[in-house]
Subunit: 202 residues, 2 copies
Amino acid sequence: MPFNERRAQILDVASEFFAENGLAGQTRQLAEKCGISQRLLYRFFPTKEDLLKEVYDQEILGAFKAVWFVELQDRTRPVSERLDAFYRDYLRSTLTRKWLRLFLYASLAEAKMAPDYISAIVMQLLETVMREVAHERGVDLPEDPALLREMAWTLHGAISHYAIRRHIYQSSLSLSEDQVVSMHVRVFLAGFEDMVKMCVGR
Amino acid sequence: MPFNERRAQILDVASEFFAENGLAGQTRQLAEKCGISQRLLYRFFPTKEDLLKEVYDQEILGAFKAVWFVELQDRTRPVSERLDAFYRDYLRSTLTRKWLRLFLYASLAEAKMAPDYISAIVMQLLETVMREVAHERGVDLPEDPALLREMAWTLHGAISHYAIRRHIYQSSLSLSEDQVVSMHVRVFLAGFEDMVKMCVGR
DNA sequence: TTCACTGGTCGTCAGTTGACGAATAAATAT
DNA sequence: ATATTTATTCGTCAACTGACGACCAGTGAA
């Protein structure tokens, strides 16, 4: 099999493998799952660490779409619709079992593989959400960006935790994803003014 | 050192140790941290598996307080106050770094150590929260208990995810815990009627 | 004194694990 | 056909890991 093809195949199998077995999964088992000898892995990746890093970059960082920022700021549509659409897609394409497990394993291991990209992207998302809702409602937001983000986390975190329940704890399986997203968005929007008022008051 | 004292000390060090290093942490390192020989561990716990199980029972299951149910149902106080107080305590005494890390490591490893106790306790908490808010607001709740719980998760999950951000991802550190709890409770309560209406409608 | 019990250590075994040197097979170029 | 590169495997090393047999020291009872 040609070099690049095999390499891509290994990366693909590896992401699945390490998501399920943890970053401490054995290279011998991985090789077996790839249908190749263990030694061959080291032709493509100098060390296990390097392989893990590439898996992380491809699977974790690659899961974020730039188009979200455009869609979230499309003011021809009501913000409730935009949030609904965004979080449905986010849940389906990013907060998957594979993504969550890899991300949690990496976070627990304090593997600072690509630490700041993700937090920077999410921060952008949070601020965008706040700005768009505030604009539609004609509400003034507080200055402090940390406070602003924490407000958006009441929605973003609730949905992330829903994904964790589904994929890590194997619970919250009886309702449809879309229904749950709508519920979360609704609570957030209904409580928005109140939340901002309280935070400005401080 | 007497048997029970040493045993308790090992359990204590072990919970800290496995929380930081994962359930795959080595018995030799643990022994060193306890200041004893590795062999001695096996006087107190037949296998590593047994030690892990005891750590889990003590640290994970032991972190839930029965008094919460009483306080949450004390209708002489406004429900917003009760929720605030409960989640402050819950965050401080249960959603700690140690608890979260142990719980996540165990969940990822699919270690069904005491699977149903926790989910049963949390389900009770969720239903209690919904019942109390609905009572104070004079709102009728839907029948479906799964739907009911999912509604409470909009608050419970948001706060749990806040703890994960703090203790696992090391972010969301700039605001005080109490401030964040108040914010989440406020959004939840303000959006409550809307959320219930939407869910009954379906 | 002696005996036995308890808390404790040393050393080691068998099975893993990441890594890699060297040999082999297959394909491509000359 | 021959030379050369490329894909792949075998076998093995050194470090690690859970488990445990055997031994040792202090303490208290007979």
